[in-house]
């Protein structure tokens, strides 16, 4: 067997699921959900969609662990960067609110 081959039915299922999840994301905005609920839903739906695309469409589910780690581990560094920048931005916001009113 050559390359990554999987039943077309599986792709159709994932396709449908991605449509559904995108529709739900859109609903979050349409119904003006706010605060923690909005953020939880936006991020959960985002991660679910991203996971489906990477795992099934990009076949990462069926690749060897070495390749999976190559792709999945380094982006964790971006989360660290985002965390640091969030802290920094909070501080900047505080400074600006205090000094530039």
């Amino acid at each position: 067997m050559e390359g990554q081959q999987h039943p077309v039915g599986l792709y159709f299922k994932v396709w449908g699921l991605l449509f559904l999840l995108s529709a739900l994301s859109y609903m979050v905005d349409l119904f003006h959900l706010e605060g923690l609920l909005r953020w939880t839903l936006i991020l959960a739906l985002m991660m679910a969609k991203a996971g489906l695309i990477v795992a099934v469409f990009m076949h990462l589910r069926w690749e060897r662990l070495a390749l999976v780690c190559l792709v999945v581990v380094p982006p964790a560094a971006l989360l660290v960067l985002a965390g640091m920048m969030a802290t920094e931005s909070d501080y900047l916001f505080l400074l600006r609110s205090t000094l530039f009113r």
Binding site: Q4, Q5, S25, D29
Partner: protein
């Protein structure tokens, strides 16, 4: 090189001479014929490229998060900025929703194209790749419409009438770079589809379609993050 791998080729020879230094050393190192990922080299290379691209978009989105969190001026409401009135109905964020569905559909047709490629069904594979590229072109077209609408409303990379100046900078930078990726993808898919239709990969095998597919799904993947973090925040 065939796609098979042998355990013997993975191991350095037992009586290996001390490795050479400098440029010749680098050449022998890189041509050492040792495999790590056990996939065709083109696929490994595409994954590594996509990993680098992940960092580009990841840092863009982190930068956008930073300026948005730090600004004391009100951020324009994307829901309203990207609303359209169609047939008298005011629909918030509708264009972006349609663009999202178009890109997801293109990912579906691409996955099927890879499937038909490995079944050696050239005609269906090329047709599905052409449909994928057409969806991509449609997406870029809608993005061009979105950009011209915003530019008309006075949104610039350095300011806009709706609120925070950082809005324009983030918007043009992130969606522009993504749109560039989609455009390059449309060209890439078209070239590979032409090769498939002509039977250029009959001897080599159809790994190239899977590799092109990886790139295309990645473009869709990035849009998932942009949609959530830029348009829904």
């Amino acid at each position: 090189m065939s796609a098979e791998f042998t355990t013997a080729a993975d191991m350095p020879p037992a009586e290996a001479a001390p490795p050479r230094a400098g440029w010749p050393g680098m050449a022998t190192d890189l041509s050492g014929d040792r495999r790590m990922f056990h996939v065709p080299w083109g696929k490994a290379m595409m994954w590594i490229f996509l990993l680098s691209d992940t960092f580009i978009f990841g840092t863009f989105l982190t930068g956008y998060m930073s300026v948005r969190m730090a600004t004391t001026t009100p951020w324009p409401n994307p829901s309203e900025v990207f609303a359209l009135t169609i047939g008298g109905a005011h629909l918030p964020l509708i264009l972006i929703a349609i663009m999202t569905f178009v890109l997801i559909s293109s990912s579906g047709t691409m996955a099927m194209a890879v499937n038909y490629a490995y079944r050696r069904d050239r005609r269906r594979c090329a047709a599905l790749m052409a449909v994928t590229a057409a969806f991509g072109a449609l997406f870029v077209g809608m993005q061009a419409f979105e950009w011209s609408k915003l530019i008309e409303e006075g949104v610039r990379p350095w300011g806009n009438p709706m609120g925070s100046a950082q809005f324009g900078a983030s918007f043009f930078m992130i969606t522009g770079f993504h749109g560039l990726h989609v455009t390059a993808g449309v060209l890439y898919l078209s070239i590979v589809a032409r090769g498939v239709a002509r039977g250029a990969y009959e001897k080599k095998g159809y790994g190239i379609v899977e590799i092109a597919g990886l790139y295309w799904h990645f473009v869709d993947l990035v849009w998932v993050f942009i949609f959530a973090l830029f348009y829904l925040w």
